[in-house]
């Protein structure tokens, strides 16, 4: 391992070091603010070094990890999301009774896991990254274990996630058994060289890996956990689940598909097509009349993953671009939406019911504007990043002539509008005359949280109006990678 290798791993090193520092600081001096600050600094530092690393990319660091522009981009994205979550969580924990500081250690570890996931070029890294992420998530979800629901969610997630990891592992084992290698590059060579290699083992293995991956992405039929976990976890953790956990997984899925050219496997593509269609319909229909905002967002995330799969299935450079752009947009929106839910926490209770947002426009016009923007972005309305994202996905879908998927997407966008707008309507409805006016939601906002939301909102609109710079970057990275 050379110095260059170590340099390439700098983001990981920084994050790991931060984790250590955080843990040490906690053990000596418990202070929520300092811990959070350290975490933020660590994230920021990790992000800061990323641009300079692009000079040494692509670099294979041991057979396990590949640091290329693609993984750097995703590390940046995941870390940035994690940074925002840490700020949001700071505001959130300030309002809740708990041991606050350890959370940041878990967060950092999970981010390391997720980042490792996107750099993996070997099954081991894939597995380790995933498990580091997942095991930390158990802790994060059930962090407020003194309450009923987080505990329940933690147990559910643990059981199901572990089972799905087992599927993933078994699938890997089958592929390893047939090909004798766990390196993506070698696998790709072997598979490309020999068409007869599409044996039962390979296909079963791939199928089982799909289960593991599908679980993490929360696509139908592996979606059952989503609403419960989303509902119970603290809102910033939910945001983390929606972004870092899913984003990391999707990034590696894309890399895996492209490097191994799984697109050539019609059956696998068919399986994903079915999954995409089911996800879009199931997610949207489940969300339709749901009254819990977090559950709505959970179901909608199922549908959104379906949308991303449409672009994903298109294959080619355009698909990689579309997926990446959509993920960026989705990251911003999810962080913003859950961020607001988290910021509005009051009396130990998150504002989960749609009715909690009644008249929000009167009490907090700016916050309601941000929330509206997030909802509209999820619905894919112009001037938001979500619009460009949906446009991109459709472009990829139409470009690859995936007509059925495209039509399903269009139909589902319409269904989706209904519940997004339902939330929006409620915010702009007359507030109830009763005590609600005095404000279950009228506490002062934390400054940090407000700043983050404002930032997200600006980015959201910026990308919706002038996405050119981001598209340029994405084309440079993902596009080149995809083709």
């Amino acid at each position: 391992m050379s110095t260059t290798d170590l340099t390439a791993l700098l983001p990981f090193i920084i994050l790991a070091a931060t984790t250590l520092i955080v843990v040490l600081v906690i053990s000596f001096y418990r202070n929520h603010f300092i811990t959070a600050l350290l975490t933020v600094i660590g994230h920021a530092a990790a992000i800061a070094v990323l641009p300079s690393l692009s000079t040494i990319t692509p670099r294979q660091v041991t057979p396990l990890m590949i640091i290329d522009d693609y993984s750097l981009f995703y590390i940046g994205l995941l870390t940035a999301a994690s940074l925002i979550v840490s700020v949001l969580m700071y505001s959130y924990l300030q309002r809740r009774e708990a041991q606050r500081e350890e959370f940041y250690a878990l967060l950092l570890i999970a981010t390391i896991g997720s980042s490792a996931l996107v750099t993996s070029s070997h099954f081991i890294t894939l597995f380790i990254g995933l498990e580091v992420l997942t095991v930390s998530l158990y802790g994060m979800i059930a962090y407020l274990f003194t309450y009923d629901r987080p505990l329940e969610a933690g147990i559910k997630y643990l059981i199901l996630a572990a089972a799905s990891s087992a599927f993933l592992l078994f699938g890997m084992a089958l592929i390893f058994a047939e090909t004798g290698t766990m390196l993506f590059a070698e696998l790709a060579e072997k598979l490309a060289a020999d068409d007869d290699l599409r044996t039962v083992f390979i296909l079963t293995g791939t199928g089982m890996m799909v289960v593991g991956i599908g679980f993490k992405l929360a696509v139908v039929p592996f979606h059952m956990w989503t609403p419960d976990i989303y509902e119970a976890a603290p809102a910033p953790v939910t945001a983390y689940l929606a972004t870092v956990s899913k984003g990391g997984m999707f990034a590696i899925l894309l890399r895996y598909f492209i490097e191994l050219n799984v697109y050539a496997y019609e059956t696998i593509c068919f399986v994903f097509t079915v999954i995409a269609i089911l996800s879009m319909f199931t997610g949207n229909i489940l969300a339709l009349l749901q009254n819990n905002v977090k559950r709505i967002l959970a179901y909608s995330s199922i549908a959104h993953l379906g949308y991303i799969l449409v672009a994903f299935l298109a294959g080619g450079a355009l698909a990689a671009e579309a997926v990446t752009f959509y993920l960026v947009a989705y990251f911003i929106t999810s962080l913003g939406a859950f961020g607001i839910v988290g910021l509005l926490i009051h009396n130990e209770r998150e504002p989960e019911d749609v009715q909690d947002y009644r008249g929000l426009y009167v009490h907090r016009p700016w916050l309601s504007a941000v929330f509206t923007a997030m909802m509209l972005s999820l619905a894919g309305i112009p001037l938001t990043a979500g619009f460009i994202g949906k446009f991109y996905v459709l472009t990829a879908g139409v470009g690859a002539a995936l007509w059925i998927l495209v039509i399903v997407l269009v139909v589902n966008s319409a269904i989706g509008l209904y519940y997004y707008l339902r939330i929006v309507i409620t915010m702009y409805s007359e507030p109830e005359e009763t005590a609600a006016a005095s404000g279950s939601l009228s506490q002062s906002l934390s400054v940090a949280g407000g700043v983050v939301l404002a930032f997200l909102m600006i980015i959201l609109i910026w990308l919706g109006v002038y996405p050119e710079p981001l598209i340029a970057i994405i084309q440079d990275i993902a596009g080149r990678f995809g083709s």
Binding site: A314, G315, G316, A317, L318, L376, I381, P382, L383, F387, F391, L394, T395, V398, G399, A400, A401, V406, I407, V410, V411, S413, A414, L417, Y418, L421, R422, I425, Y428, Y466, P467, E468, I471, A472, Q475, G479, S483
Partner: protein, 523 residues
């Protein structure tokens, strides 16, 4: 830059109005009036400046253009262009926009700043639709106007506003996405054929598309425009939205929003897919006729004033659909005039309905009657617009409907005859309005003031405009003419060329099966 100003004025004005809403109710109103007056003035200035050229030039498609890169990677540019057709529609937009602000002066007392923000942004979106000549940009504006409209209905609307707003939104959005898919399909067909991936309208004109593909793509566009227009059977959002919207919302919906659909058909559907549109013309014309009659029929049945007027819109816009797909100069000119005149006459009827509702808090015509003696000015004005609506010669609607019918007559006699029955139907529902509200025995006694000066100014302005269109429509016809001529010529050229070569079936296969591969190799 002029074009950019046309967009920026309402956008910035809207933001300012929103912000200024904190200071009170007057400032946002004046800001809106100022912004729209500037837009209107700018439009008139352009009109005067180019009017002489409009008359002479028929080769040059665009009077003003404005182009900047936007997302060059995908062939998207910020391309605005203006021709006579757009100019007319923008003038209408600014005019009705101003009127909407004025009629809301007293009606809207709740969150005035935000109201004007929404109103101005709708108008910005509409203006954008009329001048965006990059298909992506067009779609962008197409969608952009929906959300503010949605807010307008949901916040300031009447009793059933939630239902109406969501219905409006779902219909337009779902159909809009169909159009997006169609736009993208066109984009790839053009890109694969020429290697140039672009959303630029000028480049996409004359794209060589095999017949069946063109039909599908055209349908994607048609559905979106048909919903907006609206054509039966996708009209059902309209009565609800119109009825529940506040007055300004109804005026903008009927006067402008529907017109974007008509504009889209003229600008995109037929010119981009001349052959498919020709094949489809008969069905579209039947839809137009059905809309005329079915809309009128439903109008008879209504007792809610605004709902009645809403159904008459369906009927009137049927003429537009009919005229556009007849696609000759008479019918097209007629469609343009109907677009403008209907905006004025129906808008005015909605203002009256709003005025009545403001005064007596009901729209139920069963509770009105005999109001002429109480509010003679209102009665006179209503009579005028009812007559305009039934197509009385000398008023704007007549010129449009007459031209549409005579133009359609050249293409299809039977449909014209059936459509003409719609005129009788229009007579019945128009005088029905007057009879139920202003004539007859008063069913309940209402104490209400007559139209005040502010309202009279608005009404007189609209009456004069309709009279002008009815008696001297020449400036309008002249302005639209070069634009329509160019569109027609383009279509004819393509039709001529397309007559000869036999389409290669393999082409079609390629487009559908292997766009993916082609695309990959491009990168």
């Amino acid at each position: 830059m002029t074009l950019l100003w046309l967009l920026l004025l309402p956008i910035v004005g809207g933001l300012l109005a929103w912000v200024s809403g904190k200071t009170g109710t007057q400032l946002p109103r004046w800001i809106s009036v100022l912004a729209l007056a500037l837009v209107f003035g700018l439009t008139l200035q352009v009109w005067f400046q180019y009017y002489s050229e409009i008359d002479i030039f028929t080769e040059q498609a665009w009077l003003i253009e404005f182009e900047r890169d936007w997302i060059p990677q995908l062939g998207i540019s910020f391309y605005l262009a203006l021709d006579g057709l757009s100019l007319l529609l923008i003038a209408l937009t600014a005019f009705l926009g101003l009127i909407s602000v004025v009629v809301s002066w007293k009606e809207i007392q709740y969150r005035v700043g935000f109201f004007h923000f929404n109103l101005l942004w709708i108008l910005a979106g509409i203006i954008g639709v009329f001048i965006a000549l990059d298909l992506f940009l067009f779609f962008f504006f197409w969608e952009m106007m929906l959300i503010p409209m949605y807010f307008l209905i949901i916040i300031w609307g009447h009793e059933d506003k939630r239902y109406a707003a969501i219905k409006f939104f779902l219909f337009t959005q779902a159909s809009g996405l169909m159009m997006l898919v169609a736009i993208l399909a066109l984009y790839f067909v053009h890109g694969n054929a020429t290697g140039v991936y672009t959303f630029n309208y000028n480049d996409l004109l004359g794209t060589d598309i095999s017949a069946s593909v063109a039909m599908w793509i055209m349908l994607g566009f048609f559905i979106a425009f048909g919903v907006k227009l609206p054509a039966v059977p996708v009209h059902t959002w309209l009565p609800d939205a119109h009825t529940q919207a506040p007055t300004a919302g109804s005026v903008v919906l009927a006067g402008l929003l529907l017109k974007t659909g008509a504009y889209g058909l003229i600008r995109f559907v037929v010119p981009l897919f001349p052959e498919a549109a020709t094949q489809f013309a008969f069905i579209a014309m039947i839809l137009g006729v059905v809309s005329i009659l079915y809309g009128a029929k439903l109008a008879f049945a209504q007792t809610d004033f605004k709902r009645l007027v809403a159904y008459t819109s369906v009927s009137h816009m049927g003429f537009v659909l009919l005229g556009i797909f007849a696609w000759n100069d008479l019918a097209l000119q007629g469609a343009v005039v109907v677009i403008i005149a209907h905006g004025l006459s129906t808008g005015a009827l909605f203002i009256l309905a709003g005025g009545i509702q403001e005064r007596i808090h009901t729209r139920d015509m069963d509770r009105m009657g005999g109001m002429w003696s109480t509010v003679p000015r209102m009665g006179t004005v209503a009579m005028f617009f009812a007559m305009a609506s039934l197509g009385l010669p000398g008023l704007g609607n007549f010129v449009g409907e007459f031209l549409v019918l005579i133009g359609t007559f050249m293409e299809n006699i039977l449909l014209t005859v059936i459509a003409a029955v719609g005129i009788v139907a229009a007579t019945i529902y128009s005088i029905w309005i007057i009879q139920r509200i202003f004539h007859g025995e008063p069913r309940e006694t209402w104490e209400m003031p007559d139209l005040n000066i502010r309202e009279m100014v608005v009404m007189v302005a609209m009456m004069l405009a309709l009279l002008w269109i009815g008696l001297y429509p020449k400036p309008i016809l002249n302005t639209a003419k070069p634009a329509l001529d160019i569109l027609q010529r383009g279509v004819e050229e393509v039709r001529m060329v397309e007559q000869t070569p036999v389409p290669d079936p393999r082409n079609e296969m390629q487009i559908f099966m292997s766009i993916n591969q082609l695309h990959k190799s491009d990168h």
